[in-house]
Symmetry: C2
Subunit: 499 residues, 2 copies
């Protein structure tokens, strides 16, 4: 409000609401390429591209916000002129449920689709948390086959490699809610709604393994835990032997997926739902193995919980295993860039019958950040245009012809369109990250020549050459060429400069 | 409401609000490729990609809805939790003005950017008119140079050719509001706000030339016009000699852009603003000619008006010249797929000073419809996946391995994941537009073979072969191959089938 004093009151201030952002340059280019590559991979697996509108009826989308820990977060809503409530979609799964229900009689089943687009959350924004962001989702609707779940694990691994990540830089982790429910059953948590609160408390505790370690999880499974600031979190209240059983589940391991399954089967012996869960995991393992996806790409990990309450079977998560710096500056693993699982209840709201489905959601901006960290996609992501300077304004069409030639030769090129002199034009070219500047003044024209200035080389030289005298004669970054060789010579420099 | 009777009341109905649509299949694929190609061309001209959020402050966007004829149409708006009004953007120009004002001190000028995304209109939907649609915009901000306007004319022509349209299938038409204002000045329409209503009436009349012909326009310029239904539209009330002057302007022609400019200069002699307009048109002509854009690609056409009130100088429109069918079934020219012009006032709202700008907006869905009509982009837009059938459910991992092999060979392929038998699976493959189905039953397996069914050939044959007996033995669309030759043979058939 302060700066309104220096601004006439009728003039609006140019600014964005909190939680929204503009995007340009390198990160935008990486993100666009990323989405394009993902679309390619999902399409190669037979998935069909779908788009649905940003705005839907409130009752058609319902409210299945995907984060258990933020139950009060909301959706943007407003009334249509006939009084019906409309909402901005908060994810891409609820619209899929509406779409499948609406076209149930004509869609091919199992129906595989992918979708990418903006989703909206009317919630308190924070660092890296926006009120509008891009999601990329894929789902298979209408099959209970574990082959569909195995497929998403393969897709995750193939997608990450298609984006340039090396084997070993990522790991797909798989778990099954049914196994977890089996453990809970054996320690006496009631099935269904009666056990919901306790089940949620146990899930939440387990989800904190990486952050709090075994001790912290044990406290949260038991009486509760006081953190460093002195805040107390009430625990799930499990008995000591039950805590041990949950911790045993979390750490069930083995040399390969089959061995982990065997260990889990042992832990849930006697629970029907638990045993069913381990059989499903074995089926996923068989699918992965047949398609050549080994332990180095996809593992079974009982510690994978995934927050969403609606998962009913297998859950999976794609993790990047390389390190980055945490908020405190210490190295941490980059962590999850997406995940999903099986849910059977979403379409049921409309049709009154269960329609089994499984799917995955990818965090586009987080994955883009990882690719940038790894230097992937970014080499093609942002090279500025060649800038043709205008030294003689009366000859604008003549300079225009040069730009046209360069473009016809496949070179990104532009004409300087402003009013500035030589110095301003060079500054402009620098801001635009131009690799080369084309200069033709009267002297050059008289000789039928133009000058090419290699901006990157120029910057290198100017950082080395310290004295003004050296700088003045330092013309190593410039070369005079014949006018008719313009496109060929620009091409040469660009090719030399390519990383 | 009717069908709620057969549905429990607590079950929502799966449907969309009016004016919104889902999109899938061929048109979506064409549209996605279209936007990608446009982005490539604009990038090659040095334009930078920008994205801005869907939601902005109401006062920051203002309300410059681009259609004069729909003054009551609105924007979607709602209040933030602190009481401030937010709106869904209704175009991509108002957010650009906000962005430029916000980053005025750091952007390189002239600033060239392109942007594509959804825009929203809270208005009455109709056939082909939606409340959410995709726009593609490009603008150059911070230069008064006509070279910038010439560039957009070149861009329009180059973009359409990059999309596969032939020279002769399109025409870029150029006009200048200043020339038009010159004509109006000479017939006594007052400059500025005093003449606004009359100017608007004349513009509207001119804009109807294609639809109503010279006679209709003459009536609308004069006392008024009664249409076939008997409805009367009040005219601009011009005197007869002034009507002639306006009609003369509309029909000013010549062998090339230079000749049209000369004819226009003649018509506005004595009006300073009018003469300035013809000089600007000559500058645009010079830029186009220098870059090799002849009369076959870009023409000066005084009949181009463009509805937007905020244009202040050159306006341009890209028209497709081939024919399609009108609402009455009669052939009409496809018409405009985009256009734009110079506007100098949008950023002024924020900064209190004029910032000259010029830009273009492309109607993505309309252009996509034109490409589909011409059969462009669509050949690659939708080939279904190869479907591997599952005849022996116990051998799912084995079938999975086949799919993996096909994909590794660069072939779009999927495993049937449902519960259906052979017949249901073939029907599924048909719905998915699968080019080939891979079949391996017990007999084939015993011989180390698989069967490939060419679905397109099968469809052709079944339309020719009429008797069941012929159909039963008609196996020309199927071929048995060695299991180890799977990928190679599938490749062969796909290559043969390619158009």
């Amino acid at each position: 409000m302060n700066d309104q004093a220096s601004r006439p009151l009728d003039r609006p201030k140019a600014r964005l609401p909190r939680g929204f952002q503009d995007s340009a340059g390198k990160m935008l280019a990486i993100q666009e390429q990323l989405v394009g590559k993902l679309a390619e991979v999902y399409s190669s697996y037979g998935f069909e591209w779908l788009t649905t509108p940003s705005i839907e009826f409130a009752d058609a989308l319902g409210k299945f916000l995907p984060d258990l820990d933020r139950p009060h977060e909301g959706v943007f809503s407003f009334q249509d002129d006939d009084g019906q409530w409309l909402v901005l979609r908060y994810d891409l799964t609820a619209p899929l449920a509406r779409y499948v229900a609406e076209h149930y009689d004509t869609l091919p089943f199992p129906y595989r689709r992918f979708q990418t687009g903006l989703v909206f959350r009317d919630e308190k924004p924070g660092p890296g948390r926006y009120r509008e962001f891009v999601q990329f989702d894929a789902d298979t609707v209408g099959t209970a086959s574990m082959a569909a779940d195995a497929e998403f694990c393969m897709l995750a691994a193939d997608s990450l490699e298609a984006l340039g990540l090396a084997r070993g830089d990522y790991l797909v982790k798989i778990n099954n809610r049914k196994v977890l429910n089996g453990v809970l059953e054996l320690i006496g948590v009631p099935e269904g709604a009666a056990g919901d609160a306790l089940r949620l408390a146990v899930l939440r505790a387990m989800d904190k393994l990486e952050r709090l370690g075994v001790g912290g999880v044990a406290q949260l499974l038991g009486a509760g835990r006081k953190d460093e600031s002195g805040d107390f979190t009430k625990g799930a209240g499990l008995a000591s032997k039950d805590i041990d059983r949950v911790l045993g589940f979390l750490h069930a391991g083995g040399a390969d997926r089959g061995a982990v399954c065997a260990a889990l089967a042992d832990l849930v012996k006697g629970s029907e739902i638990g045993e069913q869960g381990t059989v499903e995991l074995l089926e996923i393992d068989a699918g992965l193995s047949a398609a050549g996806f080994g332990q180095d790409r996809a593992r079974i990990d009982p510690a994978i919980v995934r927050g969403l309450a609606y998962y009913t079977g297998p859950v999976f998560e794609a993790e990047l295993t390389f390190e980055t710096k945490g908020e405190d500056g210490r190295p941490i693993r980059f962590g999850s860039v997406g995940g999903g699982g099986r849910y059977d209840n979403l379409v049921e709201r409309f049709l009154g019958r269960k329609v089994p489905a499984t799917g995955v959601s990818i965090g586009v901006s987080r994955l883009a950040a990882a690719l940038e960290l790894r230097g992937l996609l970014s080499d093609v992501a942002h090279v500025g245009p060649v800038v043709v300077l205008v030294l003689d304004r009366d000859r604008l069409p003549h300079y225009q012809a040069m730009v046209g030639e360069l473009r016809a030769g496949g070179i990104r090129a532009e004409l300087y369109l402003g009013q500035g002199g030589m110095r301003a034009q060079l500054k402009y070219a620098d801001k635009r990250a131009a690799p080369i500047v084309v200069i033709e003044g009267g002297d050059e024209r008289a000789k039928g020549e133009v000058t090419l200035k290699d901006m990157a080389l120029g910057a290198e030289l100017s950082s080395e050459i310290k004295s003004r005298a050296e700088w003045a004669k330092g013309s190593a970054s410039q070369v005079s060429i014949k006018r008719e060789e313009l496109t060929r010579r620009v091409h040469e420099i660009l090719t030399r400069r390519r990383p």
